[in-house]
Symmetry: D2
Subunit: 369 residues, 4 copies
């Protein structure tokens, strides 16, 4: 349903990049989840432009929670988060009002909203709106951790540089939680940063691949048709700007292989059913099998680049040239990872709530229990 | 919502592989669409095991339409399709009741349904259920064609063999419509078939990549958050068994490139706004831009293989071995393509109906108009 | 969503009165509910025309369950029920194709479906479709009873005759379960039957008021905005043909009173919080308070009457007269009660599942538990 | 879905009575609707306590629109409205924390949210939240008027006083739009006001019946199962606090009549199909028939009364007495009418959008059209 996602726990997004504020309403939250402002801020910080790698738009990302929290805990009613927009320079966009930035939403938004769209800074399509997703995810993550569920993403590749594979997932996720630039191998991290800076100097941009892991899930989550775990995660993830592909487990990497190689044989380990390999990414038939969920997302190079590009004026229907102004990043993959983690947290919390009930992730009743 | 998908036009699936019947209810269909039984049969035939390449289970796929059609046309009310199950050999599955077939749903279904699952032939998870999806898609496809919208998929790669790229999309889609084995290059088709037969002889299986195109769509379809065109298609497609990855446009193939290469520059052509390249697969910011939608799906090798595999008995919690009985294909990619086309048709019809109204794809009122 | 209702447990209806079959798909059912065919048949029988009071259309209401049941129990996947149409006399309707039966759907269906509607016997709007609702409710009712939840309705009034008030709800509901004509006071039952027969002889029809009770519910079910218990029940109930009003507790009957009278004061009873009166019908602020839910529905007189009526031919746009043919009941209130009970059972099961989890109403795992 | 309602145009509510703010997100609004702040304020004023008849809580109801509006018009993206809470006296509620106010949500909210609920002033259940509904309705009403659709409600009865019947609906609705106290007969208005004041002096409260009319609708809106017009309106209306009953057309008032009386015979009038009477309230078989929609809602006496009442302490599980503090109205029916009008506007706009497309109620494209 348009700007709302989720069955049992849902998020509704609103806001334009250069409007008064952006925000979200999160509904279906169980009562009694403690609000950890420090953690929310730390997650929002990961999404923010970091030093030389980021945009010139210096946003504070200060949020207000306007409802749904009472005495420091969720009270079970819709939680609304508001993040005001500041430091906007809307005049940058007036000059190019009808010039379609290549790879961008200007033209599609015009076709959809018939000329009434807020075109400044991408409007409602702006990556800025992901701040609300991150805040929402940060509300739920501590409740998931209490159930032993951890989520983390690293930059698997950027340009031609590749991070090392996940190894010890629990430890790797912990390491990533402490990192602003989510690469497990320090040397690779530096090389990737150099690639980003280099692209920026060339007025160009770079993309890459994020790899995400979810550990600690019970087997049996998801629905065969149509709410498979893969369906729900991909639905959520593809709404994030710049995501153009997703695969669970090996997928594209192993389509040349055979069933005997791709199949993950089962075995008993410490009394639990596990698989020897995890090419299926923790999902069989759309349902979790108790192994870590593993998926990769393709993040395209940021479309906003400073070099001159050919385009059209969709008002006059003439060919034109554009040199994009405004403040844009030569890469967003390092910022996107916490958005992916947050959307994943929302999907997982939604699935757990549907299976185990509305109170499953909530706090204990301090009065009655 | 579990087994229902779609906002304005929706499909609800039911049925188990070895139950009495499988089927679908399609709701929100506009009144006045002519039912073309010949076309529906021709589409169902594409999904069926073809000669040596298919399973031993010889299904007739005869369907009955039980409601929603009056005097040969949709009457606006829910259309229910029923396909009876015949020729089932359920005893094959009794012997291995608690042995988890690797890469399969036995174990996850058990965890989800707590031992009450219909385990015979994959139950409700079976690819058999896709017959209802194909029938549903075949109902809508002619109505889409009347609006100039065409959908087609080919096997882009299977094992190490690759089909030629799409060239003239309209012509290629027409060619694919006539093919049982959806490969544009005849030589490659033969080589792929050999690969499948070879895998079968080795008691193994193969996977591959499907590439799908949708042409003739207006710009402006989709929602920014969360119902982007990519979100909706991926949600639908990931519910199809064996799909493990999807990418729109170049995605994974071009993550190493830069914005200046990946961005699709706009230009005017015959008075229309088009892009010079289509690395974004016809979608900018989740909204159609009027260019063809292009996406690829990774189909994993069929998990049901005949060679001996290691696994567990999830009842006794012991390691075990399994030799799968029953009738299984060494590849399903050539059958999956019409399922992907059909799911895509449903998503497109849903989007068009939401944008242009409930009657958009329907017939003219022969009495009043 | 059109012909689907319910969040966690949902029902999708299909079928036309004179088509091949009518039916339903019930999704979200927990695994392990035992199918009690005898009970389902007994509930369907209550909906069927009874002797002199009913229509001439003698339907067997034999149903088939095509999916979702394995070895006599729900297996967690969508359960589809099919009831074939027999004994239809469609030619009755041809003569009056464009004559709008007063109080009926002919004209509105024509406006909605633009002339493509299946007009025979009310098509998809027919009360015949409620057979599928009754079957669905009958599947869930035993599972609710195991949780101590009982539902029952009686004819509170018909014409000027009124049944006695509910007294001992548990006992009254048990009594109603055994009755074909749901009136607690035998004398009144006979008088009401006479009223119905009398109306029939006058080629006219009668309506009345049903009163429904639900006992055994925990406090705390429902959502403030917008899924209040009253919202969900009224949504479901107003989709039943001939229902034109609903009230919870005293409502219209006591709008002239004051807060001090209408408010239900609380008290402790046997260690439980109860209210001394129940003018609010067991719901405060949209949420169950643990008292019985009580509501009344206004059932209008059957619109299909045999006397001559003035109307229009909506094709020629001329005034006309109509004498309805076909087979119609002079009252449907005595048949509607089991439909109301069944819709209520679906809503209650949905709410319980949302609160307590997908398996709450399901069976114990006989293998693992 | 909990706090979201609507399929094509939806509203999501948030906020607690004594929290930072209350508000709504309205999604699916077509682009190009002009924002008429003066009208929104005038509608909000009708919901506000008026002079002696109102509560002591003097709220300004100043709203901010934070998104979804660009250059004075809707831009097609989610419109968020915020209304800050001021002048709250939360300490009033601390003293009675665990005393269940009769007829109120304290106990049910406690059971639902397990002790974490924001109990101050009814929290999220407060009538205060209806301000956001009124603002949302006021956004859509001008767009409906442009299509010739008008909505209005009057107090049909309050205590034993009854307003005159609707006569000339267009004129009556216009008159009501100008009234703060929605009674068509001035003398009756004064008598009703006296009843309210009298109840207040007796520390008691009164209820009544609202009658609502919608004119100008096309025939053919609504869905047979389950989204009948009656289902959707009742779903929406029952989420409004104090609504305990609804009837369409004559319903409860004429259940004693017969089909020949209740049926609305059709006739041609000025080339249009109309009915001679309107006992069905403009709806046949759940679908609009082109006549005015007419429905009545039973508004129970405000539960918050100042006289001493018996109750329980649900923490200590003991009988208790309560004397309610805080600021409460002896009637809310005169304030509720604009809330009913607004919810109705949302439902109607949703139905029209589903039938005629996403842009139906929107503005003309000033650039391209």
């Amino acid at each position: 349903m348009k700007n709302t996602f989720g069955n049992n726990i849902s998020i509704t997004l609103f806001g334009e990049s250069h409007g008064a504020a952006i925000g979200a309403v999160i509904d279906g939250l169980p009562a009694g989840i403690k609000i950890d402002d420090e953690y929310i801020h730390s997650q929002l910080k990961k999404r923010k432009p970091a030093g030389k790698l980021g945009t010139a738009r210096n946003e504070t990302d200060d949020y207000s929670i306007l409802s749904g929290v009472f005495e420091g805990k969720t009270c079970g009613t819709p939680l609304s988060i508001l993040i005001k927009n500041e430091n906007t320079k809307s005049s940058d966009y007036d000059k190019t009002r009808f010039l379609a930035r290549p790879g961008h939403v200007d033209y599609t938004a015009y076709c959809k909203y018939k000329g009434f769209e807020d075109y400044r800074g991408g409007g409602h399509f702006s990556g800025r709106i992901t701040a609300a997703i991150v805040a929402a995810g940060a509300l739920l993550t501590p409740a998931l951790k209490e159930k032993g569920i951890y989520i983390g993403s690293h930059i698997k590749s950027l340009g031609k540089e590749c991070d090392r594979d996940f190894d010890n997932l629990k430890k790797d996720i912990e390491q990533l939680e402490g990192l602003d630039f989510a690469v497990l191998d320090n040397d690779k991290a530096q090389k990737m940063k150099d690639l980003i800076l280099d692209a920026g100097q060339k007025k160009d941009s770079v993309g890459g691949v994020l790899e995400t892991a979810v550990i600690g899930l019970p087997a049996g989550l998801g629905e065969p048709w149509f709410d498979s775990v893969e369906s729900l995660i991909s639905h959520a993830v593809f709404s994030i700007p710049a995501v153009k592909g997703i695969q669970f487990g090996a997928a594209f990497d192993m389509v040349n292989s055979t069933g005997s190689v791709f199949n993950d044989e089962f075995e008993m380990k410490d009394g639990k059913v596990v698989t020897k390999t995890n090419h299926n990414g923790g999902v069989n038939g759309g349902i979790t099998n108790g192994m870590p969920i593993l998926f990769r997302t393709a993040i395209k190079p940021t479309p906003s680049i400073y070099m001159k590009q050919e385009t059209v004026n969709f008002m006059t229907k003439e060919n034109a040239e554009i040199e994009i102004q405004g403040r844009h990043d030569p890469a967003i993959i390092h910022r996107a990872r916490v958005v992916i983690d947050s959307m994943t947290a929302l999907v997982i919390a939604d699935l757990l709530t549907g299976r185990f009930g509305a109170d499953y992730l909530g706090g204990k009743n301090e009065i009655r229990d």
